[in-house]
Subunit: 225 residues, 2 copies
């Protein structure tokens, strides 16, 4: 069943939290635009957060958004997530920024994207803890495979080999902490989402032009220091 | 002219140095295998280097291969390249390892691969210097585009935008040193080579399965610390 790998709506596998759809971003962006020139109103009412956002999430964001611009950059995101999760590697942070970014500003994220990212990490944290049975703070290769499956990604064995080889330091046995688990999972999620966009009929294959192939992949790759 | 982007043999653009073909690796591997159990003979004669390899290249390799195994790992490669080029970022080193690796051992490279990598870097260094007209040690976005073109990669504008955005820190203007230039160029080279393998008729597009897409891309992405 090829399409189950995609975590599609046809899949029987549990669903991973979805990235906020474009239609969700659009009204937020209009809201951001109305902020220009009205810095005093930025945190009025919901402060740009979806209704029902937990106060600690709002607090984590506002604490690092010192200039009250309504946006935070990668270093601020790293700091904001520390209050609820941990201090993630900047590489993981950049991946999260890329996957949850405001589509109109690739270097900063706003309240709606932050809330969505926070909730996604909560879900992933729960999955990680479920598979870290001995509470060592690490999961091994087989647990990683099962954890990704629980998130809705049935990574094929050939791909899984390639993926795990990047974390096992040549030993054949990888122990992933939560940071690496998030990095690894977000790569699978991000690439799967991108590929799915090109495979509208869920055939498990897609025809890509050279240009679109490079454009899909390059954002995941390089990053300035 | 779609196929010119690929630096194919049909292209009129100057050719980038090719990765050693499989047929080139095969006899080398047999040579490595004959080394097992005969450590004293490893550097006898050509020492596994192609005939005509410059003595300084052989010296750079042997200096870091302290256990005389005939293979060097990423840290040894970083050190070996310092003697002729510079101390590259470990991220760049890993990319070079991946692109020039011994196909039978993904974590180490041997003399033939090292010689090929050294010569490729020499060619890239010459291109970099040609475009760094003011000898500042950096090239800007437009020079990068021209330099990649000189290497045979006519990166389409949409891709180039994505690529450069990762190096310009949000300023719109990037200044790449030789390290970043190599990283950036090797990403383009590596992904182009992979895509070309799937586009045998040089149409500029290829049909990829979800599995093969992930397998093509993931090795470029994650790396253990």
């Amino acid at each position: 069943m090829v399409f189950s790998r995609y975590n599609s709506s046809h899949s029987t596998a549990p669903s991973a939290p979805e990235l906020p759809p474009e239609s969700y971003h659009q009204p937020q962006q209009q809201q951001y635009q109305s902020y220009y020139g009205q810095p005093s109103s930025i945190y009025g009412q919901s402060g740009g957060f979806p209704a029902g956002t937990q106060p600690d999430v709002v607090r984590a964001f506002q604490m690092v958004d010192r200039d009250r611009s309504g946006f935070i950059d990668e270093h601020e995101l790293q700091q904001a997530l520390s209050s609820g999760y941990q201090r993630f590697n900047l590489r993981t942070i950049r991946l999260l920024m890329f996957l949850f970014k405001n589509p109109y500003d690739s270097l900063r994220i706003g309240p709606a994207e932050f809330a969505s990212l926070w909730s996604c990490l909560g879900h992933w944290r729960a999955i990680f803890e479920r598979f870290d049975r001995d509470r060592s703070g690490k999961i091994d290769s087989m647990e990683l495979r099962d954890a990704l499956y629980s998130l809705g990604y049935a990574v094929p064995p050939s791909v899984f080999q390639v993926l795990i080889s990047k974390y096992d330091n040549g030993t054949g046995k990888a122990g992933l902490d939560f940071d690496s688990f998030v990095e690894c999972g977000m790569i699978v999620k991000g690439l799967t989402d991108k590929f799915k966009e090109k495979d509208k009929e869920y055939r498990g294959s897609a025809t890509l032009s050279y240009d679109s192939f490079l454009c899909m992949v390059i954002p995941f790759l390089v990053s300035y220091d």
